[in-house]
Symmetry: C2
Subunit: 311 residues, 2 copies
Amino acid sequence: MYIGIDLGGTNIAAGVVNAEGKLLSSGAVPTLSGRPTIEIVKDMAELTREVTADCGMELSDIKAVGIGCPGTIDFETGEVIYSNNIKMEHFPLAEEFRRLIDLPVRVDNDANCAAMGEYLVNGGGANSFMLITLGTGVGSGLVINGKVYRGFNGAASESGHMTLVSGGELCTCGKQGCWEAYASASALVRQTERAMKKHPDSFMHKVAEEFGAVNGQTAFLAAKGGDAAAQEVVDAYIRYVADGIVSVENMIQPEIIAIGGGISREGENLLKPIREYVESKGFNKFMKRTRITAAGLMNDAGIIGAAAVAM
Amino acid sequence: MYIGIDLGGTNIAAGVVNAEGKLLSSGAVPTLSGRPTIEIVKDMAELTREVTADCGMELSDIKAVGIGCPGTIDFETGEVIYSNNIKMEHFPLAEEFRRLIDLPVRVDNDANCAAMGEYLVNGGGANSFMLITLGTGVGSGLVINGKVYRGFNGAASESGHMTLVSGGELCTCGKQGCWEAYASASALVRQTERAMKKHPDSFMHKVAEEFGAVNGQTAFLAAKGGDAAAQEVVDAYIRYVADGIVSVENMIQPEIIAIGGGISREGENLLKPIREYVESKGFNKFMKRTRITAAGLMNDAGIIGAAAVAM
């Protein structure tokens, strides 16, 4: 058995996970980011004891603990080099956790954890597997031969910051034209809002009103209702997503690319046109092709992924 | 000792190479592409015997033969799946060569060979090494832990066909906005010609006249002479190159990126602004940074690279 801890900006979620990636028990407490980090670590340890007891086990039944954390992590030492969300800088997270619970601990970037979890549960032992998450940003994690690919320095797989439009929209990272600035859920919201301004009669206004705000579903829902302006937004957005996936595929040729994040719940509405675009525009025309699927893990992906990294 | 054979559209070049990547003897014959492929293979075998004799050796002194070939190669079987330049389709190149010379044979894509050669001679044992060649196209090869990274299907590392400008200029591959359509030497020639039309008084016209044609040096030379229009071309071109390198780095984080091809002879004129751009725009701000250098192997890179793949 393994413990997975998903240390997020809002909540700390933890659970007991078996070797097949099945969640046996789980719990969560608020992170209360901003308080002394050592307090957060104490809550992580407390939660670990609770979820272990919840499924009738003891700490001696646990082989290892995995912690997923946003930011830049030194995977070898378990040090959080920098995390904006949890306000950590050069914090020895694995070491501090081990002072409270003496078990092997692995700390990894949340995107790497998510990729490992998805690979474990839905990867079918693929030789290479990439998870691309369309959320607030565009995150990604690459698993090659069952291991997270990290580059020589641990900072690899930031596909959201590939250039998609040289000289284009400013990204939060400070560079212009990143894939993330066009293909994230936040980008889709911006694109939707722009189109709504241009088309005051569009059905998108009604949809947004109904949901109380513009979100990543607004254009998709209005397009399903036959709204032409919304369809334009959806088509352009899918093109941005697909164009970046072609880049990833031409570069990496992973056996499977799984697409996650809220937008991926559009399912075949999103995947089918992406596959068609990638099929027609990918450079590889003679060898086997990458399989493009939707990610399967939903709410518990963070916990399962963190546990997967510890396995 | 190893044999490296660089099978190009114009010439077949071959040589004897030692384990450190030093070329001991070499020779070349015209490819005469279009004749029966088996004739080309016979010439390759003949050349192998010649270069071996040239350095006072016999075939029994040769451990293995590497063949570099443009196109899509099945590295496992040594079959050329498709090569446009040499007019081959599903041709069992390794097998046919072995009928004439009974030695272990490896066939690989020319870009992979070039990367392995460069890695062997100038890689210093880096954990990960990428060669990016700015030539007719933008080619690249990635070496991870001393082995060419090929993806699950053998078609990886086509960084020239990452999207750099979504919806931008049409690439020879049929997709719009590929890095190659902006950062290859051919793209630079197009960009130079466009600027020359717009600026009939530019010094670029004089430079082009002197060299008999517009080429990849025209704008660089005119810019050195203080020509403002040429400087604009150079600045924009370097930005395109650097923007793609940021993509590669954010995705792969190789320890070293070496830039090859004719344009790389500009040396620090090219490398310095690229490094500055990548330093300021790369997503990784907290971990060690990729080292960006010029490729060292020049004319014999194809032979040495092919031999390196056979090692």
